[in-house]
């Protein structure tokens, strides 16, 4: 899996950290000892930052490293499918939430699945879930990027809706972020204008808060 500190600023932050924490004894020489066979090949066949000037061809040490700034911008239109469409239509038209139950293991999946991945069979019946639920886990996000629908700080939660067996990932808003803890009760806040997407729920907020 791929995690990481992502913003360009973060790299600078790490460099800063390096300066702040000057090692007491200093790091070993870098690049340090690599055994002889490797080192020979290394210097013959490769460029390391410290060996660039030992290249046989002079031009290699006089290149300005270019970077091609580009992007991938392919628009996607994902099919929701029959099962998911029913979920989103109920959400959009009636502000109701539904899961789907597997009669094999009695799991009520939210969001609904056409199939149960554990039993590997079709799921069976629709079960109305929520709208309230219990917070299973959460995080308060304090960094920003353009894919986030809210400005930081804001919270994400995994919410176990009443009568569901699996948790729903969503936003948590309209609350004191410092007071969040697992186990509290949450209710969805629906958008006025709904279009059949997961953001038809604006966010969840603690029950009783305002």
């Amino acid at each position: 899996m791929p995690p990481l500190v992502n913003l360009p600023k973060e790299a600078a932050h790490f460099n800063l950290a390096l300066q702040l924490h000057k090692p007491e004894h200093g790091p070993p020489q870098r690049p340090p000892k690599i055994d002889n066979a490797q080192a020979r090949i290394y210097s013959e066949a490769h460029l390391t930052p410290n060996r660039r000037d030992t290249m046989s061809a002079d031009w290699l040490s006089n290149v300005e490293p270019m970077v091609y700034k580009s992007r991938i911008k392919v628009p996607y239109t994902w099919s929701v499918g029959e099962t998911g469409s029913r979920f989103f239509v109920e959400l959009r038209d009636n502000k109701r939430l539904f899961g789907k139950r597997c009669a094999g293991c009695n799991t009520v999946y939210v969001p609904p699945r056409k199939m149960c991945g554990r039993c590997f069979r079709d799921t069976d019946d629709w079960v109305e879930v929520g709208p309230e639920g219990t917070l299973q886990t959460f995080t308060v996000v304090r960094y920003s990027h353009e894919l986030q629908p809210m400005a930081a700080p804001f919270a994400y939660g995994i919410i176990l809706l009443d009568r569901a067996s699996t948790g729903l990932v969503h936003l948590i808003g309209d609350t004191d972020l410092a007071a969040l803890r697992a186990g509290i009760r949450l209710a969805p806040v629906f958008r006025e204008e709904r279009s059949g997407t997961i953001l038809d729920i604006a966010y969840f907020r603690p029950v009783g808060s305002r």
């Binding site: 061809a57 270019m66 970077v67 700034k69 992007r71 239109t77 994902w78 929701v80 469409s85």
Partner: protein
């Protein structure tokens, strides 16, 4: 089927994009420096098989040899194969339709053993044929990327 027709939804990504900063590398950067500063095209020669490749890259695939010897190639060459694009498609760099029609060809630059691809000028389609002699046309303002070559045109 008598079943009630169900509404089937889609979710759209909208105009989201993924930005990238692709490293051109030493070999490619050298090519673009020469192109930008001197309107020269560079290839690179394999010390083992002697083939000259454009664009320059570090490794000769068949020989698995490291290459360092730069060779000036072109700016003229021979058209190996081509097409004229006439259908609409999304340019993944912009998310917008790519302007068509345009000519697209592989040119074996003089002094090179492989072919180099670029736009080909198509004002007179009758002149374009496999084997035609071609010449690079450079842009006056050059930034150090592939677009510094405007296109290749048929000579004569």
């Amino acid at each position: 089927m008598a079943a009630e027709k169900q509404e089937l939804l889609v979710i759209q990504s909208g105009d989201k994009e993924q930005p990238f900063r692709y490293a051109v590398g030493r070999y490619g950067s050298k090519f673009f420096m020469e192109l930008r500063d001197h309107k020269k095209l560079l290839g690179i020669r394999c010390p083992k098989c002697g083939k000259v490749y454009v664009p320059p890259r570090q490794v000769c695939g068949p020989c698995f040899e490291r290459m360092v010897e730069l060779v000036e190639v072109g700016p003229e060459g021979t058209l190996v194969g081509y097409t004229i694009l006439r259908f609409h498609f999304v340019d993944p760099e912009t998310g917008q339709p790519k302007p068509v029609p345009y000519g697209y060809g592989f040119i074996r630059l003089d002094g090179a053993d492989n072919a180099f691809q670029h736009f080909i000028e198509i004002r007179d389609e009758s002149k374009i044929r496999v084997g035609a002699r071609m010449r690079a046309v450079f842009n006056e303002e050059r930034k150090g990327n592939l677009a510094d070559i405007r296109h290749f045109e048929v000579i004569g």
